[in-house]
């Protein structure tokens, strides 16, 4: 400044002793029956309401309700809320809420040094310690010295607080999650009002339960106001966000919504043929609840029937999709190939989970990429698109549907357990902003040929019921352009190449590689799918340190952007981080015959930003 004598006096911010923080990561952990998912969701909604940016990650056990108090039964919900733009639910956690010993045992390793632990003393009895495999009580044996432990018999306090509501002892105890939520609200200077409204609405028909929960929430809040449990409160300010209307959305919700939007845009009835499987089931659940859109959800007897029914529905003219996770894709693969041969538009959604085989059903992974690309007999090209964040599932679903119907091809949409269950704020688009989806149906019998291709390489979609277009399709090789069965050698080669070219031509839709950060330099990080948030944040950190790093996040894996090879040329080193043993890396190397570095993680968990930063820095040191 020119005036060196200037003096700025800070104005009070209205909160006496609140410490300002840019971002906070809380993990609520307890037994499956403790209502931690609900607590986390309520806190999330409040953070959203206050204008924080945020991201969440639930972590359920594989069992429905494993024995109470055991390690297997621990259920957790993590959220990060911040006054800046964030893209992940946080690496390490600032605050761990542990409702019992098992919850502490499982989650402690992710807590930052000098992080806060809030425990319910009631969950640390001899039995609880035993179930959690603790020889001595960690609250008392000094093993938690590195942290700030806040102890309270939350259960007891809750039971006392809800006495006036007159609910049973069992139901009283169940309110302890609201007591805890009240404490957290106090700690972060949030008002309990919105949650009180929510409770009244939710439990309107059971006033005693409503009263109990209200009582617990307020008691928790007030207890902190009175007792000197915490030294201070914290304040996380609004994040700068694009103006607009927002909602919280999980990946599975967004996927479902994306298909509804696609069906509206394409003016086509949506048909979903599916079979429940973790972590994809919620898409089916969501769409089953939207019948007033005319949506037809068909819960099939298995994945094969789900995919086949979708193919039948596509043949009959619906916008048809099928949703599943990895093991289900195995079963659908023969039908997917039928769609390749019959050139019918369906979208196959794979919400990836830990594999191989049944693997780790409730954990995330990105290990079904090569299966999506190659998991069928024959030369069977299939477009593959991957969503990058919970909210992006909406856009990816629409795009997958658009390509399917415009190119008359099956399309694979890959998401994963992490973004499917995780949630983030989603800027609600105007209907007018949504992409157009052009559907043309064959109508004129005089020019109709079932395998006559248009300029996109697509064959005509001729819908049963259209007079004069009676024709037959199937899984045997088709003669071009009549569609009759053909065993002719030249025809088979021609059709094989045409199928490849059609998919390759989607490049014109894919466009050029999108780069974040440096457009040339020392390191190009190529990622795909749900690792976007962590990779992008890590790259930002390196950029902030002045490193010459670029980030290309691939939305379409087949086809790849047509300039990707040239983009690679502009960097000294390439890194491909993935939640698998190197699948995209193998594919890219195979395509471009170029050396690159892979970084794999196969722990059923997303990357931590810090892991990525450390690794990228190492690579930069080697090749400065």
């Amino acid at each position: 400044m020119s005036d060196s004598n200037s003096q700025i006096i800070l104005e009070p911010d209205g909160r006496k002793d609140a410490i300002d923080l840019e971002s906070v990561t809380i993990r609520f952990a307890g037994d499956s029956g403790d209502g931690m998912q609900l607590t986390g969701t309520q806190f999330t909604d409040e953070a959203a309401f206050l204008g924080n940016d945020l991201a969440t990650l639930p972590d359920y056990p594989a069992e429905i309700r494993a024995p109470a108090g055991t390690i297997a039964g621990v259920s957790a919900f993590q959220l990060q809320f911040a006054s800046l733009d964030i893209k992940t639910p946080g690496d390490d956690i600032d605050v761990l809420v542990a409702m019992n010993a098992a919850a502490l045992k499982v989650n402690l390793r992710d807590l930052k040094v000098s992080g806060i632990i809030l425990v319910d003393d009631d969950g640390f009895g001899a039995k609880d310690l035993e179930k959690a495999d603790y020889k001595t009580n960690p609250l008392e044996d000094g093993s938690l010295k590195a942290y700030r432990v806040v102890r309270l018999n939350i259960t007891e306090h809750t039971v006392r607080a809800v006495e006036p509501a007159g609910v049973s002892a069992k139901n009283a105890g169940r309110c302890k999650n609201f007591f805890t939520l009240g404490m957290m609200y106090w700690l972060y200077g949030r008002s309990p009002d919105n949650t009180l409204t929510w409770i009244r609405k939710k439990f309107g028909k059971k006033p005693d339960i409503a009263n109990a929960n209200e009582g617990a929430l307020l008691a928790g809040y007030n207890y902190c106001d009175t007792a000197e449990l915490f030294e201070t409160t914290y304040h996380v300010a609004k994040a700068p966000q694009e103006p607009g209307k927002y909602r919280r959305i999980s990946g599975n919700e967004a996927t479902a919504l994306g298909f509804v939007a696609a069906s509206v845009q394409a003016k086509k009835t949506l048909f979903l043929g599916s079979y429940p499987i973790t972590p994809a089931t919620d898409i089916l659940n969501e769409l089953a609840a939207q019948k007033h859109f005319g949506i037809r959800t068909f819960q099939a007897e298995d994945e094969i029937a789900g995919a086949c029914a979708a193919i039948g529905a596509a043949f009959a003219g619906n916008l048809a999709i099928t949703t599943t996770s990895g093991p289900g894709v195995c079963l659908k693969s023969e039908a997917m190939n039928l769609a390749v041969m019959a050139e019918l538009p369906i979208v196959i959604v794979n919400v990836q989970r830990g594999g191989p085989s049944t693997g780790m059903p409730t954990k995330t992974e990105q290990s079904d990429l090569l299966q999506a690309l190659f998991g069928r007999n024959g030369d069977s090209p299939m477009p593959v698109i991957a969503a990058k964040t919970p909210g992006d599932c909406f856009w990816a679903a629409m795009e997958a549907a658009k390509i399917a119907v415009e190119y008359m091809t099956p399309v694979v949409l890959l998401t994963d357990g992490y973004i499917a269950n995780g949630a983030e704020p989603f800027k609600i688009p105007e209907i007018s902003e949504l992409p157009k989806i052009e559907v043309v149906h064959a109508e004129d019998p005089t020019v109709f040929l079932p395998y006559h291709r248009n300029e996109k390489g697509a064959r005509p979609w001729a819908i049963p019921g259209t007079p004069g277009l009676e024709h037959r399709i199937g899984g045997l090789e088709k003669s071009s352009p009549s569609g009759n069965v053909s065993h002719d050698p030249e025809n088979h080669q021609k059709m094989t190449l045409e199928r490849h070219e059609k998919v390759a031509s989607i490049q014109s839709h894919v466009g050029a590689t999108k780069i974040e950060g440096c457009h040339e330099g020392d390191l190009l990080v190529i990622s795909w799918g749900g690792t976007y948030g962590a990779v992008s944040t890590a790259v930002d950190r390196l950029l902030a340190e002045g490193k010459k790093v670029g980030h290309a996040h691939l939305r379409w894996i087949n086809p790849l952007p047509n300039d990707l090879e040239q983009v690679m040329d502009r960097y000294k080193t390439i890194l491909v981080p993935e939640l698998n043993v190197g699948q995209l890396k193998l594919y890219l190397t195979g395509k471009f015959a170029r050396k690159m570095h892979g970084l794999g993680k196969v722990m059923g968990k997303p990357f931590k930003i810090s892991e990525l930063v450390v690794h990228m820095n190492k690579l930069l040191e080697v090749r400065p």
Binding site: R248, L257, G294, P429, P464, R472
Partner: protein, 339 residues
């Protein structure tokens, strides 16, 4: 649901496609093809509303020979694909062509489920008791002891009765016909076509190459009268050249007896809508040659079809919530505004 407004009069020829029929000369499939091509024009349904879906097998080449919409899908899955076709467009009349291998071996589960859901498709199962297309292996309907390429010492898997399986699945219309009695076959297929809901028709079919004469023992014209029991609703359950044999109750079982004056009054009457389905079941379990082979309609009981219920729920939801509004849906849940 099926539109039946007058349309140009259709003939059998309208349903013959331009593709050469490639079954072996003498194969029973020809007559089934002809029968369906005879039935379709009688139904008053415009040609473009027919869809024929098949799996894989000799029999499943069928759609190529029909000048309708057709889909030759993958092995065992025709019923599942057809479920999608009919659900997506309830206005179509959907036929499924399948074989004993396609429909009861690899496709047995979809068969069970399409029938229990009462999806309004008409299923013809070509039962030649053999895998034709793969050149002669035993199928789930092959008799015990049948020597085939994969059972050189005789089949040891007890055969399924397709009719029993359909009944266990809760199918509303269940029938059996034969490839060498065109009149009967045509009438059964027409009844199936006119039935609302899942219709299942087993057709005993001869594979001249790999299982020639499998059904001859009772289907050869000379044997038929004495060994085949033609089921007719409301008619007595009798057979034999002069109707001299008939069915009577005997404990829980139904016996086949020579009719005489003392038992004439006990001869049972066929009832395709018998409420508990016991009659149909018992007939479907008849062991040949101790008992005759029943042919005709075993059961015909309508209930709401799958698409009616599904569409009904859509209508109900629309009544309750209005037609889906995308903007409103996008704004559902917890929303907030950033200015």
């Amino acid at each position: 649901m099926i539109e039946t407004t007058p349309s140009p009069v259709l003939t059998k020829k309208d349903f013959v496609s331009d593709q050469q029929v490639k079954w072996c000369p003498g194969c029973g499939d020809y007559s089934i093809l002809a029968a369906l091509q005879t039935v379709m024009p009688k139904l008053g349904i415009p040609k473009e509303k027919f869809v024929v879906v098949s799996g894989i097998g000799c029999s499943s080449r069928f759609p190529y020979y029909m000048n309708t919409y057709g889909f030759h899908t993958i092995h065992g899955r025709a019923t599942a694909v057809a479920t999608g076709v009919k659900s997506a467009n309830p206005d179509l009349q959907v036929w499924v062509i399948t074989g004993d291998g396609d429909g009861l071996s690899i496709g047995g589960n979809h068969m069970l489920h399409v029938l229990r859901r009462n999806v309004d498709v008409k299923i013809i199962l070509f039962n030649n008791e053999i895998y034709g297309l793969t050149k002669g292996q035993f199928s789930p309907t092959s008799p015990v002891g049948l020597k085939t390429k994969t059972s050189p010492l005789g089949n040891i898997d007890r055969p399924l009765s397709p009719v029993s399986v359909a009944l266990a699945a809760g199918a509303g219309f269940v029938a059996r016909s034969v490839d060498n009695d065109v009149k009967h076959l045509t009438s059964v297929l027409e009844a199936a076509a006119r039935f609302k809901g899942s219709a299942f028709v087993e057709v005993l079919q001869n594979c001249v190459i790999f299982n020639d004469g499998a059904h001859n023992d009772f289907l050869a014209p000379a044997n038929r009268k004495d060994k085949v029991l033609y089921l007719e609703d409301g008619k007595p359950l009798v057979y034999g050249a002069e109707g001299e044999k008939g069915l009577v109750h005997s404990g829980f079982a139904i016996d086949a007896v020579d009719i005489n004056d003392s038992n004439r009054g006990q001869v049972l009457t066929h009832d395709t809508s018998e409420s508990t389905g016991t009659l149909a079941w018992t007939l479907s379990q008849f062991d040949y040659p101790e008992k005759p082979v029943p042919v005709g309609i075993f059961r015909s009981v309508e209930r709401p079809a799958y698409h009616e219920m599904a569409e009904g729920q859509i209508a109900e939801a629309r009544k309750a919530r209005g037609n889906g509004d995308l903007d409103r849906l996008l704004h559902s849940g917890v929303t907030w505004t950033v200015d």
